[in-house]
Amino acid sequence: MPATSTTNPRILLVDDDRAVLQTYLRALRQHAPLLAEDGLAARKILSETPVDVVVCDLEMPRMNGLDLMRWARDNCPHPEWIVVSGQGTLDAAIAALKLGAFDFICKPIQSALQLQTVVANAARHKELVTEVTERRVMEVAIRESERQLRQLVENLPELAWSARADGYIDFYNRRWYEYTGTTFAEVEGWGWQAVHSPELVDQVVENWTRSLETGAPFEMEFPLRGADGTFRWFLTRVSPLRNGDARIARWFGTSTDIDDARRARAEREQLVIDLRQAVELRDEFLSIASHELRTPLTALQLQLQGTAHLLERLNNPINTKFLTKLEVANRQTNHLATLVNGLLDVARSSLGRLTLEPDDVDLVDLTHEVIERYTPEAHNAGCTIQLDADPEVRGLWDRARMEQVVTNLVTNSIKYGSGRPIEVRVTSADGWAHLVVRDHGIGIPPADLERVFARFERAVPSKHYGGLGLGLYITRQIVEAHGGTIEVSSEVGHGATFTVKVRLRPDLHRHAGHQAVNQVSV
């Protein structure tokens, strides 16, 4: 039996003798061979169909075997040739072998087995040749793609390298050598540790070893020593390249210089820290300063009140003049105290120390008291204040802070109300308290509506209106610390309306106001 091949070879039988062809056909029936009765017919088949083995008579009319072979060499994928020579065509047979024929058989053919064996050998040879050729083509392609990859890697701006599956580095790109100033011999395998910083090298080795064990990609930031001896930070990423069977074949790594970005990031972070500290320091100073200012102010206020009290008691006509002066001094001192308290509140709220002490408060009652207190001031400014309120609006709030809110809004409306009537409304609905303070004064330009609640801001030139511009800022801090909202709507020349909404029972934590802490943005 002929050696069987894994694939069924395609066979072409060429002979001008039909009887011979029939003999061949019987021997090779299992391969379903193609038949041609002369060279031209064979050429036609060969140009149309890929054939593995040709059994070809040398002596044929029109086109003989050798001519057919010569034509085939340049015009079709190379089949294996078995030439059949009769007596006296030995020279032709030798010529055929020189042309690359695989074998030759002398006529008459001894047996079917002989033919089968020769054809099988040729077929197997053809198969081997094909395999070798294909492999060679593939190798060339691989080599070419490797060359392209190498060129790509060599020209990368990053340091790049590759390692065997066991982590032994056997290639570094040009950039690596340029940066580190090392030679391959120095850094081959695990020699790269020489350019790492002593503090981090153990960690790098540990992480790299773990990646090698688990097959997980490696990513780490570490410094590498340059040729000039200074270290720069790199971000290094290494990925495994896996075979068809999912086993790791190689590792590919790149190290990207992130030194500048890292330094910039560190500087930025430091700047934010410094800025925060500066802001905190300023607020701390404000807090201490205003606290310290308060004590002598209180003593001063008491002295002024005491003096006025005595003068009243003595009831001497000349004292009236002194009383008027004292009243002015007293008013100025009170004003000073308000400013100092404002500063303290601002400092506290930005330090997150605006504490709330919830108490059962009737907002209507409280508003009524405030309005009563400021009626003389309103009178001096030529306005009236009208209160329109529910019988009571009770809630759980910090009494003093809520009083501050009402006071700030009422004094604000007196200040900017242009002597026109002021309306105050206190109502409640659905668990919320509403406080609306409306004046008909100068109003606020649309562009400034957002700013009025900011620190040290006011919507009018400070030349015409005194104060530090803290009132509405503190008011909003207090309202928000109570979990509420404050809004303003206004039309220039037609006054402003401030609307405060707070829950009747807000969820108050003792130290509210943290939302205002150090909002530093860079």
């Binding site: 308060r294 004590t295 002598p296 102010l297 209180t298 003593a299 206020q301 008491l302 002295q303 009140q305 005491g306 009290h309 005595l310 008691r313 003595l314 001497n316 105290a337 002490e357 108490d359 910090d398 009494r399 003093a400 802070r401």
Partner: protein, 134 residues
Amino acid sequence: MSEITCSGILVVDDDDDIRDTIIQCFGDEGYEAAGARHGKEALDKLRSGGVLPCMILLDIMMPVMDGRAFRAEQLRDPRLSDIPIIVVTANANLGEVEAELQTAGALRKPVSLKQLFKVAEAHCGKPTGPGWTA
């Protein structure tokens, strides 16, 4: 109702300016007033004999002995425990402080002269001294 007779007011506050001003104002009005810089000094003064005050104005935050500690000591001393205390605090919730220290009253910082005279009159009656005269 029998007339309350004043036997003086003790002002306990660590701030010299505030304390002296309050004492001076009480004096001008015709009340006897004395001062102590902290709870310990106040206790020493009260225990050194003599007439007890009819009211103590007590600050909370003080060095050496604060207002709370003083109040606790005072309540332990049967000779002193009945003296009415008016606590002066920065805490807005006066009711809470009053309840905690069981005081006769509480004033919110900063105090006004009107408030001081009001509590003095309530606990010491009308001033008995001549007060300030020209």
